[in-house]
């Protein structure tokens, strides 16, 4: 895409240059985006996108847990064996026990299983049914963790055992992760934990470093919440102009031309009601409204979709775009979310196959050798609800160390009952792992035991913060570009 820019630098402009006749032989430097390879890793993505002919709901969720344990158990066992084999506690050699129920009292041994945390504050449908009278409506809480009363258990095919001890209390665990624990059985039948091991980071493919001097960026933005009405934030149009290279001076255009791919990660559609329908709710109109059975199509607001479509179509003409659904987008609610149907964005659909693509949530990319795993943020938000801290990056890092990107599925994160494979298990560690729709921008690099390096990025909601994250493909550096109107108070 060619972007025009004045010859003079953006800092000082000659006054005669501005107020003169156009010169005939004047040339302007143009910036072009270089062609780049950006593919979806089909061996992982094919498992996220469910074909309608193969989707059945006859199986139960036990299959998903069985698959998770069967695949992750050998990996954890290997890490645990390396750490604990040959170790002796109190002159007793520790040994591996195959089944959780086979632990014997007084023996130090290690077991592998899925963690299950019995939470007292977690909303439980059975509690609501057994209550005879409604006292007060339940207060909606942000977090359901109650460290004093929550019981942590380890479960495998044979049964469950209660885990106690100070080691286990200080560890970040959620229901659904597979771990190995070392300890012994107490007199009350609980398992006193001395040490705990995770599968740790999966192997990572080496990155092919490009030889050119140009920098390449991947732009990550989430939570656009395009509404299409007159209250549309100006920052959204600024963002799209910037990505197309039309905003700012030549330096900004040059910087924008280095963006080779844009990923719109979730919640692009706003779910605000149109102002028209709000008027209809006044008492006088309410009486007059005819009683309509079925779906009242007049309440559908098409403005968000049309506005987003226009923006994406313009952007697709300039740079390749991938749109990933979030929890408020018009696709299925359960995880993994299916790609947004391109019929919703007819103008952008013309670019389908070249620069526009609708992907599933979560999704794996391979952009110029950089392997990216991205989610719309739902697994991290779900983990946030069931643990004490609020360090999102730590949750993302722990997901990579558990080798599972959505451990709370299907317990609290709605999921499809997979029967043949658990697609959230990470067989490979990506180079970049991002989660969209997070409250604020955070990033760090984590290092694994075998030298894996992963850049973690928590992409903030654009509608609240006005930030878009640019990640350098070669150096893994992450920078953020903020769009704000003067006086709105955003930093």
């Amino acid at each position: 895409m060619n972007i025009m820019a004045p010859v003079a630098s953006s800092s000082t402009l000659d006054i005669d240059y501005l107020l003169c006749d156009p010169k005939e032989d004047e040339t302007f430097p143009t910036f072009e985006r270089r062609a780049s390879s950006r593919e979806l890793i089909s061996k992982y993505n094919d498992e996220f996108v469910l074909k309608n002919t193969e989707k059945t709901y006859e199986q139960q969720y036990a299959s998903l847990y069985f698959l998770r344990l069967t695949v992750l158990k050998p990996r954890v066992s290997k890490v645990a064996a390396e750490a604990w084999n040959g170790m002796s506690i109190l002159n007793q050699e520790v040994k591996a026990v195959d089944r959780v129920l086979d632990v014997r009292q007084g023996e130090f041994c290690w077991i592998v299983g899925t963690v299950y945390i019995e939470m007292t504050l977690k909303p439980n449908i059975l509690d609501e049914i057994t209550k005879e009278f409604w006292t007060t409506a339940p207060i909606s809480k942000d977090k359901f963790a109650d460290p004093e009363n929550d019981a942590i258990m380890l479960e495998d095919e044979s049964g469950r055992v209660n885990l106690v001890g100070s080691t286990i209390k200080s560890e970040l665990l959620v229901t659904g992760c597979v771990v190995a624990v070392l300890g012994s059985e107490t007199t009350s039948g609980d398992f006193d934990v001395v040490d705990i091991r995770f599968p740790q980071l999966a192997p990572q493919l080496p990155r092919k470093m490009s030889t050119g001097h140009e920098r390449k960026y991947v732009a990550l933005v989430s939570g656009l919440e395009v509404s299409g009405d007159v209250h549309e934030s100006y920052e959204t149009s600024m963002l799209f102009e910037y990505l197309m290279g039309e905003l700012g001076g030549s330096d900004d255009s040059k910087h924008a031309s280095e963006i080779i791919h844009v990923i719109v990660a979730g919640n692009s559609f706003s779910n605000r009601r149109s102002p028209l329908s709000r008027d209809d709710e006044s008492p006088d109109n309410f009486q007059k409204k005819k009683k309509k059975y079925g779906y009242d199509s007049s309440s559908y607001n098409s403005k968000p979709t049309e506005a987003l479509d226009c923006l994406l179509a313009d952007l697709s003409a300039s740079v390749s775009v991938d749109i990933m659904p979030g929890d408020q987008d018009p696709t299925n609610y359960s995880y993994p979310q299916q790609p947004i149907n391109a019929a919703l964005v007819p103008r952008s659909r013309r670019f389908l196959g070249s620069s526009f693509r609708s992907v599933s949530n979560p999704c794996w990319w391979d952009i110029e050798g950089l392997r990216i795993l991205g989610t719309g943020g739902q697994p991290i938000d779900d983990i946030f609800k069931y643990i004490e801290g609020d360090d999102r990056l730590q949750m993302m890092e722990t997901c990579l160390r558990w080798q599972h990107c959505a451990p709370t599925a299907p317990d609290t994160l709605w999921s499809y009952p997979f029967r043949d494979c658990d697609p959230f298990i990470l067989n490979e560690t990506p180079h970049l792992f991002f989660a969209g729709n997070q409250p604020e921008f955070k990033t760090k690099i984590i290092v694994g035991e075998d030298g894996q390096r992963v850049r973690l990025v928590a992409v903030p909601k654009f509608s609240e913060t006005g930030k878009v994250v640019l990640v350098d493909v070669d150096s893994l550096a992450a920078e953020v570009v903020t769009f704000a109107l003067n006086g709105t108070g955003r930093d």
């Binding site: 006859e58 199986q59 299959s63 029967r419 043949d420």
Partner: protein
Amino acid sequence: MVMAPQAKRSRSSSTNKKPLAKQVRLTDSFRQKKKLASLQSVTGKKLQPHSPTEVIPPAASQTPSDEFEESAREIETEGEVESQELSAAPEEDVQKGTDEQVVPVEPEVEEPLDYDDPQYEAYFDKTQKVNIAAPIHQQGVSTVVRILKNFDLTAAYGPTVGMTRLQRWRRAEKLGLKPPEVVYKILISKEGKSMDELREGYLYGQI
């Protein structure tokens, strides 16, 4: 270890080879001696014996009595190990695990199921060695059905609800759990694919 290249072979091949690494030697010997003869007469195809791979030791050409002795020894050791567990996977004698998961290709022509094949009886008796008592209410039930129900109840291969037995078998195969070859042969036969009693799990219609 080189597996018989099952998955890569085209479907139009007329040979009837199955992946060997997952078998018990008992079945192998029977296949070589009995099945060949019976199948040849039924289908009229010329069948070749299995080419022994590195997995099966030179004892592949043993006489049946030796086979029984060996499998008897196998059963005894199995009995000790599994006396506590009722539904662990029966330990097939495999020298080496294989890293690549070769999903067996089904033959084009579905063979009819031979309900009275003595290998089924022998296999079922082997699996019942770990049980304390004989199965109840199973007097009039054929061995094939009993074998399949035992396969359903084996917890090592995962939950049974909501899928056919063949799907469950293939899932166990893909995960490297080495499900029994005998069960696979029953499930790909003509009756095994058409009859609900054989194709679906024992909870079909109830859950």
